[in-house]
Symmetry: C2
Subunit: 251 residues, 2 copies
């Protein structure tokens, strides 16, 4: 049975991945969030009621190294010998600012959540991804074998961000996501020998708490697109950067 | 008289720029360093003895926002109405590590010195760069008018770093420099209207405290190359990434 970890806070991932035809139906999802009992996790709790055997909610705060460690221990205890097939690093915060207005605190907080958080998550779950890669009989790389999908953004692209910047001056966010992209290409380099696929994915501009009401995409449309892309990945996309439609994003 | 700020710790900059034919001879240099009275600044102090009217040593610690502010106040009090023509952001630290071994402390420290430091330096000196751009009668952009040169590295390039990474697993450094590159392209976007040139420059692998003894380039060769590049910049390189030989580095 394929095991997937959606990290974190996006109930839509769990919902849509239940319906996806491209990724294996027989699967178990660990949906992580900061506060499983809190009001923001209500939709996720409802979903678990509908699919009690398919989804487990795990408490995880990407900003807190001990919470990351604890979550991995918990997931580890629930996993079988076949490990974890797919880790989606979906945690992220945005902060606005320009050269003249960005606060040091926003620079540090975005870096902490958007870069150090995923680094720690990848590190703590690596053992289970390695187990999945070893247990798999599928040749090459794929998201059904072992993969890390880092949810990035065109705001982390040196070539794409400048034209976005005047309308959306989010310097702390852009800087952190460029660092996150570097983390992705280096993880890809490091995990080549383990045959763990690793790539960056731009979800589009989505109507979420982060994206805001003016965003152009419904969460459903974005997640459906990303699941299609995730399901179609091979070693050709290892270390790459795609958007939710499957188009390559230039660094 | 052109005013230049070398920020910080590299006496070679001051020495070579005194001899450069490409940048204006009539100039004053503010050479910044963390500890002007300490043993590491001895060579710089010797240089000032040789060129007392051309170089002023300024105390600056890129990690300390109040030190950055103080240094700008001091330089401001010494500048005339023509402002500051050139700011070279040369501060940087390196930290080794992989996904599995990078410490949270190293991630934070490299980001602080290599990204937040330059952000604060650019912000605090911006007024003087704007003064220089306004006072200049030179059309377009150039380093003789008003420019920010961010000393980056190929280790901050998504396309170049992976092949370097196996030999030099410096994940915290690479991640911070990718963030620094994003800072550069966004500063370029922001300063377009002011006609302040802004770009990233790779110095090569240099025998400095950071580069180590195995490095392939002498500081003199690297700095001579960079001064040639800096002296030849036009608006075509605004927001770009070049190495010390003038070759474009892909992001």
């Amino acid at each position: 049975m394929a095991k997937r970890l959606w990290s974190h806070q996006w109930g839509q991932w769990a919902e849509e991945s239940q319906k996806s035809k491209r990724i294996r139906r027989s699967q178990h999802i660990f949906a992580t969030c900061r506060d499983p009992a809190g009001p923001k996790s209500e939709a996720l709790r409802e979903l678990v009621k509908k699919h009690p055997s398919a989804i487990t909610i795990i408490s995880l705060d990407a900003d807190d190294p001990s919470s990351v460690k604890e979550s991995a221990k918990k997931v580890g205890s629930l996993l079988g010998n076949n490990g974890l097939n797919l880790l989606v690093n979906n945690a992220g915060i945005v902060a606005n600012g320009t050269i003249q207005t960005s606060s040091v605190e926003d620079m540090k907080n975005t870096f902490n959540t958007n870069v150090i958080g995923p680094l720690l998550i990848i590190r703590e779950y690596l053992l289970y991804l390695q187990m999945a890669a070893k247990a798999s009989r599928i040749p090459g790389m794929s998201s059904n074998k072992a993969a890390v999908i880092n949810i990035s953004t065109v705001a982390g692209s040196m070539t794409r961000m400048p034209s976005i910047y005047n309308q959306f001056p989010t310097l702390p966010y852009g800087v952190s996501k460029a660092g996150f992209n570097m983390l992705t290409v280096l993880a890809a380099e490091e995990f080549k020998a383990d045959e763990i696929l690793c790539m960056a994915l731009h979800p589009g501009w989505v109507k979420t708490e982060l994206g805001g009401d003016e965003a152009t995409l419904e969460p459903k449309e974005s997640v459906e697109g990303m699941l299609r892309v995730i399901g179609s990945l091979t070693e050709k996309q290892h270390g790459g950067f795609l958007d939710y439609t499957g188009e390559t994003v230039t660094w």
